[in-house]
């Protein structure tokens, strides 16, 4: 367990102010550049000293403990393998282990072919370097492991495999792992829980699903991929339903959170995942006459349904991404099945279920 207890650090115009507890699981720290992710790692690893507050590792305070005495493993953005030592000596730099142990470890990380002779780390591919640097970090049996964007700079297919394999290896360690990344997909694959940072603070911490279901604010929602964020105002309709009036449609979350005291302001933002949307043709040729279908309407306004025009359709990997002009300031995005026929220029309606709507 790692606990940061009122840790602050100021330098230049930047200030870190963090108060979190991370269990024996993999926590992804995500956030834009400059949000303090790396500073957080530097404070936990001991390379930076906080201005105030303390770091605890399994309830042992780390104040004044130098990096080499913390027993915290690190995997850096650049693999930082020692170029003057062969692969095996790199792995055993922290502690010498038996031939059997090293073989097991390398099989686990699929780098067993790299121990031959005096192979230099500079002859390794990008993916191999990362694996070796993970092996080097976990061979010392650390009490915690910090990883700083370990897949940066790798080609996509290699990265795709590595992140899943890292997940498996790290989960088996059963120690706190902090995994800094700027890619929310990577966060969801590798980590058990996610901490979203901005401007030096942790905005929200929880499982990826929890954050998707109730993001704390617009920034978090956008960062985890709730790309359709529409501003509106809470109002009661003539018939007594409480909805968010977005100007182009009413949005009614279900179960309603608008009048249960959880939302106190009247200007809110509703968020809908592109994947939670269906797109239906909005015009029907009806005996030669085109009539618009209005699937969900109430008091003259569409509910949980917006009329729009298809701007662009992109087919990819079993699905289509549809960009839509809904008369809003931002393009609306929907991910639909390959089977659905949508063409650029079509007038369509997007529909979504009230239960898929988040309010922030």
């Amino acid at each position: 367990m790692i606990r940061l207890d009122g840790v602050t650090k100021t330098y230049g115009g930047f200030g870190l102010d963090v108060d979190v507890e991370l269990g024996n699981e993999i926590t992804a720290v995500i956030g834009p550049s400059g949000s303090g992710k790396s500073t957080l790692l530097e404070i936990v690893s001991g390379f930076e000293t906080p201005d105030s507050g303390s770091v605890f590792l399994n309830d042992r305070p780390l104040d004044g403990v130098s990096p080499e005495q913390r027993n915290i493993g690190m995997v850096f953005q650049r693999p930082t393998l020692f170029p003057h030592l062969p692969v095996r000596e790199n792995i055993e730099y922290g502690t010498a282990i038996s031939d059997d142990e090293i073989r097991d470890l390398c099989e686990l990380l699929e780098i067993d072919g790299l121990l031959d002779a005096d192979r230099s780390p500079e002859t390794l591919s990008g993916g191999e370097k990362r694996r070796v640097s993970v092996a080097r970090a976990i061979v010392t049996d650390p009490d915690a492991l910090l990883l700083d964007e370990p897949t940066t700079g790798l080609d996509e297919p290699i990265r795709r495999r590595l992140k899943y394999e890292l997940r498996c290896v790290l989960a088996d360690l059963d120690i706190p792992c902090i995994y800094v990344t700027h890619d929310q997909n990577e966060a969801s694959v590798v980590a058990d829980s996610v901490a979203v940072m901005r401007d030096g603070t942790v905005l929200q911490q929880g499982s990826y699903e929890e954050i998707l279901e109730s993001p704390r604010n617009e920034f978090v929602a956008d960062f985890v991929g709730i790309e359709n964020l529409i501003r509106g105002e809470i109002r009661e309709t003539d018939s007594g339903r409480t909805v968010v009036d977005t100007g182009v449609a009413w949005v009614e979350p279900e179960p309603t959170v608008l009048d249960d005291g959880n939302v106190s302001k009247s200007d809110v933002c509703v968020g809908i995942l592109p994947e939670s949307v269906t797109v239906t043709e909005n015009t029907r040729v009806d005996g030669g006459r085109r009539t618009q279908t209005r699937p969900h309407r109430f008091d003259g306004m569409p509910i949980n349904s917006i009329d729009c025009t298809v701007e662009r359709v992109i087919s990819e990997r079993g699905s289509q991404t549809v960009f839509l002009d809904c008369g809003l300031s931002e393009t609306f995005k929907a991910v639909v099945n390959s089977g659905v026929t949508v063409n650029e220029g079509d007038d369509v309606a997007v529909e979504f279920d009230g239960s898929d709507v988040v309010v922030v």
């Binding site: 690893s45 390379f47 130098s66 990096p67 080499e68 005495q69 027993n71 915290i72 493993g73 690190m74 850096f76 650049r78 930082t80 020692f82 170029p83 003057h84 730099y93 922290g94 502690t95 640097s133 080097r136 970090a137 010392t140």
Partner: protein, 248 residues
Amino acid sequence: FGGDYTFFGLLGAILAVYLLYPFVTFFAGAQGNGISVADFTRPEVISAAKYSLTTAPISTAVATAFGVPLAYFLSRSEFRGKLLVDSLVILPLVLPPVVGGVLLLTGFGSFTPVGQVANSLGLTLTDSYIGIISAQTFVASPFVVITSRAGFDSVEEYERASRSLGKGPVETFFRVSLPLTSGHILAGVALTFARSIGEFGATMMTAYNPHTMPTQIWVTFISRGVYATLPIVAVLVTFGLAVVVGIR
């Protein structure tokens, strides 16, 4: 790069030719002025070579032994007065060597407190081996400090890796930092050695006698003319070329 850089090439060629031309005239002229292989074994040439080749390595070793730790300390630590030390380390580079010699004389000359203590111990700090070495060290040590420091600045992340694997600062220094910066340090050592062996201005002050190679060039030039300096000049030009090729 796909472009026409003739304009720059022509201007630059003027400087390049200016730098090359004296080498050509010297070695061509020396041949025409009856300098022979026998001149390489004249006693004053041997003597000057002996003094230079026994002092420059010591100066270089001293500058390295203390300069590399200083470079490392400057690269890793923040402390009050760091800017002062940073400046102090560059200063001998931009200061005229004669000024360095004058300063050293006031610090270590025979009539200074330090000089007198040394005299009473039987050591002469000027016009001696030690005088040569002190001048060379003062003037040449910045090279090894500056290049080593650039090296240490570039390996901080490797050191962090080592520290995170349980190794303390000293072990990290010897197992990681030093091997990884050996290229930088060697370049610095080569430059320091070249500067030491070529030291003239400060040495004229602190140790006109015994003559090092540069001092001997001056003495020979005064007494026997420019081409008579060929043996020592040839040795020093060869050294210079070796260093230039070496640091590439």
